[in-house]
């Protein structure tokens, strides 16, 4: 009888990862060799048991935590650009809806993280005022053009910014 085969070869045999002649040769050997037959059966059992392991679901909390982290990350970026961001949204929504140019509203420059730590309340208030203004402008635009999808989205985004901001403020901005 031919020399026995390694586990690696038997595993390849199981998956048909060998040349047809080799598969035939190993098949003949297995019929005669109880050792290789047993090894192959065990490898098959391992493969089958592994493939029958069920897919697992993360708990619901995971999605909420992901959303929280994503929003926090977005707010940090918004924080940097907020000086123009909220105003820009308002300007363009109004422009698109009313079809005429508008003045860019004055906004407070976005506070950096260190500035927030130094004058927390004032900075947060200024930031929130900018977002509130955007919400009000969007609401007006929305009442005039309730079916305009760009206005709807701008309104939703402004509201979302309020929530995100509160989320970060209440968690200390970390």
């Amino acid at each position: 009888m031919k020399q026995c085969y390694s586990d690696e070869i038997l595993s390849a045999y199981l998956d048909h990862d060998l040349e047809p002649e080799q598969i035939e040769e190993i098949g003949r050997h297995i019929e005669e060799c109880s050792g290789c037959r047993s090894a192959l059966e065990q490898i098959t059992a391992i493969r089958d048991a592994a493939s029958s392991l069920e897919q697992l679901e993360p708990c619901e909390k995971t999605w909420f935590e992901i959303q929280r982290r994503v929003r926090k990350g977005r707010l940090k970026r918004i924080w940097v650009w907020s000086g123009v961001g909220a105003a820009a949204a308002v300007v363009l929504v109004v422009f698109l809806v009313r079809g005429r140019p508008v003045q860019v509203p004055e906004t407070t420059p976005a506070p950096g993280r260190r500035q927030v730590e130094a004058g927390l309340v004032q900075e947060y208030d200024d930031y929130m005022r900018g977002i509130d203004k955007a919400v009000e402008e969007c609401k007006t635009a929305l009442s005039e053009n309730p079916h305009n999808p760009r206005v709807q989205r701008a309104y939703l985004e402004a509201r979302s910014s309020q929530i995100n901001a509160l989320d970060v403020f209440t968690s200390g901005g970390d």
């Binding site: 390694s6 586990d7 690696e8 070869i9 595993s11 390849a12 998956d15 990862d17 047993s38 090894a39 192959l40 059966e41 065990q42 490898i43 098959t44 059992a45 391992i46 493969r47 048991a49 592994a50 493939s51 029958s52 392991l53 897919q55 697992l56 679901e57 993360p58 708990c59 909390k61 995971t62 999605w63 935590e65 992901i66 982290r69 994503v70 990350g73 977005r74 123009v84 961001g85 820009a88 949204a89 300007v91 363009l92 929504v93 422009f95 698109l96 079809g99 005429r100 140019p101 508008v102 003045q103 760009r150 989205r153 701008a154 939703l156 985004e157 979302s160």
Partner: protein, 196 residues
């Protein structure tokens, strides 16, 4: 006639610039991105979580890795070029996140089985699947990646080659070595259970 139409030369001061328009587009893109992201999460959460669980062997760490993976997915959605399936891209992020996590902890994780010693295996009342789940965390890194992705997650060697940036031949070779190693490690259990 609008102010802009009357004085087109002054539009720099009063007309919303392209950058302003692009910012609004950015806002709507951001919203669309959030909707897309939720769909991506629903579609891929069990793949990511199951893979992470099989790598690290416990739910709490797998939950943390799942969070890291999807936050990374969200941040990099714009850079995803679509050359491969999104699930392949997410698997790649997952595998890397798992090994980053394990390296940070600087120790190999034992599974929820806690003790996979030979003695405990012989007397183990657990199914072979559960025992394998525990033993997988002891496999060498390269073997573990391929065994989890192929035998547990059911990916094809072509996909694994893409995810791990190796050849299909290497993927097959690592899989066969992983199974051989597992059979060797599981021999006390297998003998006791008269498996096969």
């Amino acid at each position: 006639m609008s102010e802009y139409q009357q004085n087109p030369g002054n539009h720099r001061e009063t007309h919303p610039s392209k950058s302003v328009k692009s910012k609004l587009n950015g806002i709507t893109d951001a919203l669309n991105k959030e909707f897309d992201f939720e769909e991506i999460y629903i579609e891929n959460k069990s793949r990511v979580f199951s893979t992470a669980y099989r790598f690290v062997g416990n739910r709490a760490d797998a939950e943390d890795i799942t969070q890291d993976v999807f936050v990374k997915v969200f941040k990099n959605m714009k850079t995803f070029r679509g050359d491969a399936a999104i699930s392949t891209w997410i698997y790649r992020i997952t595998v890397n996140a798992c090994f980053d996590f394990l390296r940070k902890r600087k120790r190999q994780y034992m599974s929820s089985l806690e003790d996979c010693s030979e003695k405990s295996l012989v007397s183990s009342p657990l199914s072979l699947g559960k025992v394998i789940e525990g033993m997988v965390t002891r496999l060498p890194e390269a073997y573990r990646k391929v065994f989890i992705l192929y035998d547990i997650q059911g990916l094809k060697h072509r996909e694994i080659a893409d995810i791990l940036d190796i050849t299909q031949g290497a993927s097959k070779s690592l899989l066969h070595r992983a199974r051989a190693k597992l059979r060797q490690e599981l021999s006390p259990y297998v003998r006791n259970r008269h498996l096969g």
